[in-house]
Structures are given as C-alpha cells and as structure tokens.
Symmetry: C2
Subunit: 139 residues, 2 copies
DNA sequence: CCTATCAACTTGCTTTTTGCAAGCTGATAG
DNA sequence: CTATCAGCTTGCAAAAAGCAAGTTGATAGG
C-alpha cells in the first residue's frame, strides 16, 4: 500500500486522515511531541517504543510535507532542531483524546499512563487546550 | 514492529489502541462495517481501496481475537458469515467521528463522502448513536 | 587554520510484511 | 455424487521495516 495510491485519492475523509497519520508510528511521534513534550530528533528516538532512526527520519519528513509538523532551529542549541506541531497537527488533539479514552477503557495491562487517562476523563477540554494552545513562535 | 512487542506492553493507552487498530487497513475495515454497512467477507473485499484477500483474512482474525469483531452465521445465506462489531468495536465510533472531522477539514481532494462529513458536523451524537446502537443479536 | 564534537541524519544489508494470482475447502442444492 | 460458491490458504515477488555503522557540517577550543 504505497503512500500515494488510491488511498488518499478515494476522497474519503477517513482514508485521507489515515494516509497522513494512519501508520503504526506516526501517532506515537505526535503523542511524544504533544503530550510528552519531546522536541528534538534525539528525544523522539528515545521514545518508549524504540523507533529506528531511518524510519523516524522518513516519518518526520512525511509529516512535515503533510503540514502536520514544522522543523525550526533550536534557539538555545545551535546544532539542534525543534519539531513543533502546526495548527493542523494540534488539531489532532481530539483524536488523541479518543485514543486515550478507548485505550484506557480496554487495555488491561499495568498502566504507567493512568494519570493521562484520568486527566482526559476528568478534564478533556483542558487536556486538549494544552495541546491546541501550545505556543510555538508565530504560526 | 511485530504485533506483540513492547508496543502493547508499554502500558500507554495510545500504544494499546494503536496495537489493535493502528495499522493502515484496520480502521478502513471498521469504517466499512460501521458506516457502509458491509457485513460479509466478499463485501469487505470490494471496499473502495482494494485490500488483498490474505491481508483481509489476517486482519479479521486479529480483530476477532482483540474482541472488536464477531463472526456469526448469516441467517439467510448458509454459506456466508456476518462480521459484526462488538460493544468494544462500536465504542470506536467517537474515534471515527474525529477522523472524519479532521480528514474533512484538511483533505482538499474531491470528496464523495462530503455527506458523511456534513452529517458528523451537524449531528455528531446521532452519527455515533447509529453505530453504538446497532443491533447485532444479543451482545 | 585545523581538529574534535555532536545532533541529525544516510547508507547498506537482513528480516518481516504486503500484494497479487491462483488454488483449496466443504456444506448443500440438484 | 457432482457442481456451486463464500470464504478462505498458499506460494512467490515486491515493498517496507529494523539494525548497525557511517556521513555531514557548523562551531568551539586549541
């Protein structure tokens, strides 16, 4: 299923959404940026699940091209870059909410992120505002 | 990224959710059942995007094992089966809403499913109730 | 200048997953 | 006892993911 087959062209909004964020890694990257506060390439590499470096680079490029992320110079470390969500990326906040609620409801494993589930359950609006209102330069 | 690596075990609800519905095809299958009303293997094969038969079989097995789908005999055609959403599967309705809203907002292609986007925008509760209240035997 | 540093990638190769076409299965209608 | 047909399997080629090691390039320190 190549990236630009009938998939994105079917015109179905679900299909379009999945063509942008529908692979196994993309929403974890967005989670790390939106919730965990990861910003640099190195921070994203260290995520809990261990994405490999070539795949991370590829996905970041894809997300930039899709207008979900923006790469900008880190103001304090000249050789580092910050990946930030664009408004389009921040608009994924409600999707994250639903993933957290559904995952929190049905995942029976031990849960280090119980606090996040609890937060979304008790104050979904606040959770999403944290993501939506994130300042990132101008945008 | 095998199906049962650290991914599902990280305890993160997003990670768990993605381990169940996070690949490119799964949510399209759920869309076809929940929205398009597809029920049989053959109907699912004919979806707009053209999933291949071995992958469809694999995904259906995975979704059954995860408790999202249920396979039951078709009452009118003895050699056919119906795939139906379980309560866990129907609980994905809000996730579909968000995908549709996000996809509808940012997809700039021609859009055969504009009606669905419009419906979710104007009556999200009703849209989700259609999925959540679907009768499917006992459940 | 010139060399070491280090964040951010690339590259090359192996393993896994996907895609496609063709074939198998098995209950029943005729 | 044979054809049918929905629902799959199987085999093989192509694409994607995973892993380890190497490359790049601006600058800080000598």
């Amino acid at each position: 299923m190549s990236k630009t087959t009938k998939r994105a062209l079917s015109g179905c909004p679900i299909d379009y959404a999945l063509s942008v964020v529908g692979d196994g890694w993309t929403l974890l990257i967005i989670r790390d940026i939106a919730i965990k506060g990861a910003r640099t390439y190195a921070e994203l590499l260290e995520g809990w699940e261990g994405i490999s470096t070539n795949i991370l680079a590829q996905r970041l490029r894809h997300l930039e091209e899709a207008g979900v992320l923006e790469k900008r110079k880190n103001p304090t470390n000249w050789r580092s870059f910050n990946y930030e969500l664009t408004p389009k990326g921040r608009d994924l906040a409600p999707l994250l909410s639903e993933l957290i609620l559904w995952g929190g409801k049905y995942n029976k494993a031990e849960n280090p992120m119980t606090d996040t589930v609890t937060q979304v359950r008790s104050d979904r609006v606040g959770f999403e505002r944290n993501i939506l209102d994130a300042e990132s330069g101008e945008n």
